[in-house]
């Protein structure tokens, strides 16, 4: 094909040089032959030939320059012309550039965020060596992530790992500089820092020596960010005394910058030795083999693979379990004796796996990119068609084929370039929007260059393909057959027009998928926000105070809490007030576990139950209905031999009618506890949980630790706050309030993930819808503009506008319908993948699909009908006259 060869030759310099060489050689040979035929001897002939020709090298040089310069000149001219023509059609240009920008920008920023989320690891050396240890119970088919302190220390002794660590996350009131704030705290075992292999910035880190005297000489290590933010980066930080939940500690070290605990997205600023657990957590028996409260992670030996480590653990794990076996309940170890390791470069996996959401978002963005590309394709094809006449003119004036193609190419590339620039800027903004919505600013995602280039390449490729093909086709048109006079008879091949319409259908299909997905997420969000909690959190205040500072013994804290409660109850604006720990959905988690055999004769699996410690009037304050029995009275609050359970508890343990008054013991050496009341089910720890068994214990004279004050006002919470503050101050001036939150706001914040996804999906669906509309508008506008004359004739002949409109809309209807027909099954298929993220709604929910389809169809038809308005506004007489 001569065209292709020409194209190749243009871009292959050496090929052209070779051709020139050949031509010159041929010329010289002919000159030589001529001289020889006139009788010159061959060598002389050759010299004479060269003389006649003149300098070969200079010729070649001038030739090359000419070729180079000309190419550049042509290029500049094409650029200038392209810019001018783009400026003349601002609508086309802006839509094309916008589509490109959205596709490139959104994709790039999404991947930057994904990268920051996925690939970030703990800021420790060789994070890939970290593993988390879990045990599995084949009977209950669940994993346990928590182990007891004896297990951790015994496991460390087996040397199955290079080093082993246990960790328990909690929080404490940090008192320093006469101020109290909440701080997240990790209780850590001896080898915690050795396992992580991080270094101290100042001072030292915790080690085995700090665990030697449980309960005394308390030291702690703080993070760099806490040192800066809370202590102002002061240089005398080492050795500084502070109080954590009333217990005096000494700061002995500051960790390196960037380290914030052993779990990646859950910063903990302070590490304290596990030997302080008893003081910290209400005399919790932390050294007992029954207290499985520690998350267990380790650093495997560098020369052992994960598989080998896993195999080793499967051998030693049960052995350790047997060694520390609780003689009172030997079955326990048998039940949880399948151990496994998991890579844990982000730390022990406490956080909900965000990868599903990220997967969904990536899918959404890819779809948008696809739609953007099809949009560009359609636009370019339409434009090429409208320029066909101009091209035909150029051809008839003798422009070479290659120049015409070059022209189309330059324009397409110019568009892609402009789109890329805008996309680059846009991606910065979109990244900022993403990180704000997902609240991961601290991750500081950097623009993913790879993705930017990929999107850019995708769009460039599309622009190239759809700019080049029509260009090539147009340049082949035999100018004689193109009617240059009559606007209407510029030939569009039927194949071209079908292709363009198919493109728009594809766009509509993709937009359908996005729209359905978005609708599903929105409804899921709505469900989460309206789910029955089982209690009424509106306007309920949660007040955290810290009465245990200033060197007071713990016993007085409870007295102060009680006095505060008394005082607050006298305030006129208060409907009900109570104290509690582990208040439902407040973020404070409290659990109880015991052997089912102690509770009931029915054979049910052991489980961990949510629990809370509450004062009297708790259920009235939260408006939880009491189904049977009674609330705690003064006697209960002193002695603590009663408990209130919920309906799910009764059902699970099959207590039936015997529930009320049922007595049981947690351990055989402990006093019996009686169930004195049964309340309705409530959500306890997460909005998404199924109704689960829960136990409510009374706050007794022996209770230790921090409690939250819960207040339900008659009216608005805000107006009551100042009075509550005053009340607390009056009861005890040295007690400060460390946090004031509203329970309903806290709960709303927990549906954050759902909200983030829903809003991001809506944004992209909006984009997709916009792009599809633009596509449809473009097609409709094009076909209508070609037939303006026809419209004018019809109207002039008396046709109703309505009928003419129907005629033209029929085509758009078909396109939309086909798009929906393809899009809905695709949407269903993809929706089944995201089922886990949805709450209270099936992926194949018919209402959602129906509504989305109607919305999409409506918007598309509107877009298609818009050009008609313009056409109708043209004076029919003018239209008849033609151009």
């Amino acid at each position: 094909m001569p065209l292709l060869r020409k194209l190749m030759a243009t871009f292959s310099r050496s090929h052209r040089d070779a051709e020139l060489n050949e031509e010159i050689e041929s010329h010289l040979a002919m000159l030589e032959t001529a001289h020889i035929s006139r009788g010159m001897p061959p060598d002389e002939a050759r010299l004479a030939a060269r003389r006649d020709f003149g300098g070969v090298e200079p010729t070649k040089q001038i030739y090359r320059e000419q070729r180079g310069v000309a190419f550049l000149e042509n290029l500049l001219q094409d650029l200038r012309l392209s810019l001018r023509s783009l400026r003349k059609t601002p609508g086309f240009a802006s839509i094309a550039i916008a589509s490109l920008a959205i596709g490139i920008g959104a994709n790039t920023s999404m991947f930057s965020v994904v990268r920051a989320l996925k690939f970030r690891t703990l800021p420790v050396p060789q994070p890939e060596e970290l593993v988390q240890i879990r045990s599995f119970s084949p009977e209950y088919k669940t994993f346990a992530e928590n182990f007891s302190y004896p297990f951790v220390t015994e496991l460390a002794r087996t040397q199955a790992f290079a080093s082993t660590a246990g960790m328990f996350p909690t929080s404490a009131a940090l008192y320093a500089d006469n101020r109290t704030t909440q701080a997240p705290v990790e209780l850590v075992t001896a080898d915690y820092f050795r396992t992580l292999r991080i270094r101290p910035l100042l001072g030292r880190l915790l080690g085995p020596s700090d665990m030697r005297h449980p309960g005394s000489d308390a030291v702690c290590v703080i993070s760099y960010s806490l040192w800066q933010s809370r202590f102002g980066g002061r240089s005398d930080i080492i050795g500084r005394p502070i109080k954590l939940s009333g217990i005096p500690f000494r700061i002995v070290g500051v960790t390196q910058k960037g380290f914030e605990g052993s779990v990646l997205y859950w910063p903990h600023d302070i590490q304290i030795p596990v030997s302080m657990t008893a003081q910290f957590m209400h005399d919790f028996p932390w050294q007992s083999a029954n207290s499985t409260f520690l998350y267990l992670f380790a650093r495997r030996h560098a020369n052992m693979t994960i598989a080998a480590t896993d195999a080793r653990l499967k051998v030693v794990g049960p052995q350790v379990g047997a060694r520390i076996r609780n003689p009172k309940n030997p079955d326990q170890t048998a039940r949880w004796n399948r151990f496994s390791v998991m890579p844990a470069s982000k730390g022990p996996g406490l956080m909900e796996d965000k990868s599903m959401q990220v997967f969904v978002l990536s899918g959404v963005v890819f779809l948008t990119l696809l739609i953007a590309c099809t949009n560009i394709a359609g636009l370019l094809l339409a434009r090429a068609n409208s320029q066909e006449r101009e091209t035909a003119v150029q051809i008839s004036l003798g422009a070479p084929q290659i120049r015409i193609i070059q022209r189309y190419l330059v324009e397409s590339l110019l568009l892609a370039f402009l789109g890329g620039c805008v996309g680059f800027v846009a991606s910065n903004w979109i990244t900022r929007l993403f990180t704000y919505e997902l609240q991961i600013e601290y991750l500081n995602p950097k623009l993913d260059v790879g993705m930017f280039l990929f999107s850019l390449a995708a769009c460039f490729g599309t622009a190239l393909m759809f700019g080049l093909i029509p260009g090539w086709q147009a340049s082949r048109v035999n100018a004689r057959f193109v009617g240059l006079r009559d606007q209407g008879s510029v030939r569009t091949t039927r194949r071209q027009s079908v292709f363009r319409k198919t493109l728009v259908s594809v766009q509509v299909a993709l937009a359908t998928v996005l729209l359905v997905g978005c609708a599903l997420f929105l409804r899921s969000l709505q469900n989460i926000q309206t789910v029955k909690l089982g209690f009424d959190p509106h306007q309920v205040l949660l007040i955290d105070t810290d009465p245990s500072q200033a060197g007071r013994p713990e016993a007085n804290s409870l007295a102060i809490y009680r006095r505060i409660l008394e005082r607050v109850r006298t305030l006129p604006g208060v409907e009900a007030a109570t104290l509690g720990f582990g208040i439902p959905l407040s973020g404070q988690i409290s659990n109880t576990s015991f052997w089912s055999s102690r509770m009931t004769s029915a054979k049910v699996p052991d489980r961990i139950n949510a629990s809370a410690m509450v004062a009297d009037d708790f259920f009235r304050a939260l408006r939880i209905p009491m189904l049977r029995g009674r609330d705690f009275n003064a006697a209960d609050l002193r002695k603590g031999q009663s408990v209130i359970v919920n309906r799910a508890f009764v059902d699970y343990y099959r207590l039936g009618d015997r529930a009320l008054g049922h007595r049981f013991q947690f351990e055989s050496d402990q006093p019996a506890i009686e169930i004195i009341g049964i309340v309705a089910n409530t959500k306890m720890q997460s909005v998404r949980e199924e109704n689960s068994p829960a136990m409510f214990f009374p706050i007794t004279d022996d209770s230790r630790g921090s409690l939250e004050l819960l207040v339900r006002p008659h009216g608005a919470a805000a107006s009551l706050l100042p009075e509550i503050r005053r009340a607390v101050r009056e009861v005890d001036p040295q007690t400060s309030i460390t946090s004031e939150t509203r329970l309903d706001e806290k709960i709303a914040a927990q549906s954050f993930d759902q909200r983030a996804i829903a809003s991001l999906c809506s944004a992209f669906s909006g984009f997709a819808l916009l792009l599809s509309c633009m596509g449809l508008y473009g097609i409709a506008a094009y076909s209508i503009s070609r037939r303006t004359q026809e419209i004018g004739v019809r109207v002039a002949l008396g046709a109703l506008r309505r009928d003419v409109a129907a005629l033209f809309l029929r085509e758009s209807c078909w396109i939309t319908a086909l798009g929906l027909a393809a899009g809905i099954p695709a949407a269903l298929a993809l929706a089944s993948l995201i089922q886990k993220l949805l709450f209270g709604i099936e992926p194949a929910d018919p209402t959602t699909i129906a509504v989305s389809s109607v919305v999409l169809a409506g918007v598309c038809l509107l877009a298609a009908a818009l050009p008609l308005r313009k056409a109708f506004s043209v004076d029919p007489a003018e239209a008849l006259r033609g151009e």
Binding site: E23, H27, A29, A34, D52, T59, Q66, N74, G398
Partner: protein
């Protein structure tokens, strides 16, 4: 007295090439060079090599096109031919040349 050789005036080489191709039909570089020399009775000082940049320029402007073919003695050579635009260009340039030379002649012959 030997005739004086004239240098090729700038810009006229294009016209010469176009006219040659018009007269001879498709021709290769050597053929064009020979024809020009022949017609001018060898009076034209023509570096045959300078033809090639000129041919390239003419091709870039779309006035001629080229194709590889076989020459008389079965040698591979590049053949150039006029395009339609080239024909038009030839006519225009011939006209303006004749006009110009007419004016020059008048100017040079006037004594006052």
């Amino acid at each position: 007295m030997p005739k004086k050789k004239t240098d090729v005036l700038q810009g006229t080489l294009d016209l010469m090439v176009l006219q040659t191709l018009h007269a001879l039909g498709p021709q290769h570089g050597y053929g064009i060079a020979m024809r020009i020399q022949q017609i001018s009775d060898n009076m034209l000082e023509l570096n045959q090599g300078t033809l090639y940049p000129a041919l390239l320029r003419l091709e870039q402007n779309g006035w001629i096109r080229s194709e590889w073919g076989n020459s008389e003695n079965n040698r591979r050579a590049r053949y150039y031919s006029l395009t339609k635009t080239g024909r038009k260009q030839l006519a225009e340039e011939t006209e303006s040349w004749e006009r110009f030379s007419g004016i020059m002649a008048k100017l040079l012959s006037s004594d006052s």
